[in-house]
């Protein structure tokens, strides 16, 4: 039956999906291209978390009561730096080419990430740090901490995008790069910053997922698909829509998996996406706004 346990599990999963989808949608808005490596960056964030947690446990004497939360800023920072490198490789050389070229370059980066993980960590699944030690907050402590961490970060992102000059410049650059430049915004720098932000969010999703769902080099495709679907359902390019889409997917998946099976949950999800695209080719909540090309 569907109990509160299931719903909390769905919330934790949804929180992680939402972060991955947010990064995904930020890049879509900034460069008009799908980041096919978004899922692989989730995976990479998981490995960063694994490494950071093991370093922490080896080099500190104090028993850490919330290892996941402690290394959270570290993961964000490391992944932001990786995101900058990513944009330098996959976006900057191609910025005068059609979005399809960037789409494919992100596929290439995804392959490199996956194979690097395979080479360095091996194919066996590894467990990341727990968010808070079990003794601290009961059985659901870890999942509740996941949800809380995601909520805080999403709220912070909302504040950043809507409440700061930097955030407004980021949005302006995504909405009309030429006009953004015409009011003095350095658009290329804003796009690089978007990549850093998007990859940091993916990394955080990886950290959140790494304990309960483990980390494997091949995880990327599934996470990318979830982000892709969340953004499609939520309306292409809509930030709030991406969060809603991610939550919907997580609830659907968890509930069907609990009632029937994991496989059916996945299969139904894909069939559902096809059905949605069939009935509404512009996405579920997508509405055509008066946006100029």
């Amino acid at each position: 039956m569907i109990g509160s346990e299931t719903l909390i599990a769905a919330g934790g999963l949804g929180a992680a999906y939402a972060l991955a989808a947010l990064g995904f949608v930020l890049i879509i808005n900034a460069v008009g291209a799908v980041n096919f490596a978004q899922g692989d960056f989730v995976m990479a964030g998981g490995y960063v978390a694994v490494v950071a947690a093991s370093w922490l446990s080896q080099n500190t004497d104090v028993a850490v009561i919330a290892p996941g939360l402690v290394i959270l800023p570290l993961v964000l920072l490391a992944m932001a730096v990786i995101g900058l490198g990513f944009s330098a490789l996959a976006y900057l050389p191609l910025r005068r080419r059609p979005p399809m070229a960037v789409f494919i370059s992100t596929i290439a980066i995804g392959i490199m990430l996956r194979q690097s993980a395979n080479a360095f960590f091996g194919a066996a699944p590894q467990a990341g740090p727990v968010m808070v030690a079990p003794g601290l907050a009961g059985n659901n402590g870890h999942q509740l901490a996941m949800i809380a961490a995601a909520l805080v970060v999403i709220a912070a992102l909302h504040g950043l995008l809507n409440g700061t000059q930097f955030g407004r410049h980021l949005r302006a650059s995504a909405q009309d790069p030429q006009m953004a430049a015409a009011v003095g915004i350095p658009v290329t720098r804003m796009i690089l910053a978007t990549f850093a932000l998007a990859i940091a969010l993916a990394g955080l999703a990886g950290l959140l997922l790494s304990h309960q769902y483990l980390v494997q080099p091949d995880d990327g495709t599934t996470y990318m698909l979830k982000a892709y679907i969340a953004v499609t359902l939520g309306g292409w390019g809509r930030i709030n829509g991406a969060v809603a889409g991610a939550l919907a997917i997580a609830v659907f998946e968890t509930v069907v998996a609990t009632l029937v099976s994991q496989v059916l949950a996945e299969m139904l999800l894909y069939v559902l996406v096809l059905a949605v695209l069939w009935v509404r080719p512009q996405g579920l909540f997508g509405k055509i706004e008066g946006r100029r090309a």
Binding site: Q175, M179, A181
Partner: protein, 235 residues
């Protein structure tokens, strides 16, 4: 004499097609200058070259004595060129207040002061501060587009077809606003197809046809110039 904006032998192309040929022009500070010509005369491409959108094939653009031909768009904006494009091109998912804040440089106090100044110039925007760009009427959109350019504190405000699609009454409000700006010390350059509007607003006019300037004279009385009619009818 040092002109605020000086174009020397400027040739411009858009999408590989040359649109402006060997053009020389000098504009002093403190004036409203209008470039008037029929559709396809090359006005839009000329302004595009000023902002770095269209390709300069040859020649130079001097702004306040500095060669800006090779600067990026955002650098030109920071030197004091404010741009209000044809079709307005507002940030679609931003409110009026957000749009003005985005274009503004400086702290929050400075932003508030600037917003107040712009609202004083275009009072119609005051009630719409939290409305999104696409909910505004055509006139309000145009005012916001001008306001966005003003928020960058330009020494030269450049407007491409500001009258397009507007009712005459709204045009009048905009013309009044622009004249106030000029009186307050902002130089203005507009490109217009609506000769009546442009000439009643400007101090000086440059007539353009087939990518070249054919005449420049004080705007007063120019509407009755014999060349005016043939020119505007696409001559």
């Amino acid at each position: 004499m040092s002109a605020l904006l000086r174009l020397e032998n400027l040739a411009v192309s858009r999408n590989g097609t040359p649109q402006v040929h060997d053009l020389d022009l000098a504009i002093p500070a403190g004036r409203i200058d209008a470039i008037v010509g029929a559709n396809g005369a090359g006005k839009s491409e000329l302004l595009g070259a000023l902002m770095g959108f269209d390709t300069v094939i040859s020649g130079r653009i001097l702004f306040a004595g500095k060669d800006i031909s090779h600067l990026k768009t955002h650098q030109r904006a920071r030197l004091g060129m404010g741009f209000c494009p044809e079709g307005r091109r507002l940030f679609p998912a931003m409110t009026v207040a957000e749009t003005l804040a985005t274009a503004s440089r400086g702290g929050s106090q400075h932003r508030r002061r600037q917003q107040a100044e712009i609202l004083a110039l275009f009072p119609a925007l005051a009630n719409r501060l939290n409305a999104h760009a696409w909910h505004l009427s055509g006139g309000e959109q145009q005012m916001l587009a001008i306001g966005r350019a003003l928020a960058t504190q330009p020494t030269l405000l450049i407007l491409d077809e500001p009258s397009l699609g507007l009712a005459p009454k709204v045009m009048h409000e905009i013309a009044t606003g622009l004249q106030q700006l000029r009186d307050a010390g902002t130089s203005i350059l507009i490109a217009e197809q609506n000769a009546h509007f442009a000439l009643s607003l400007a101090d000086h006019a440059w007539l353009m046809a087939a990518g070249k300037l054919v005449l420049n004279a004080p705007a007063d009385g120019l509407i009755d110039h014999p060349e005016m009619k043939t020119l505007m009818l696409g001559g």
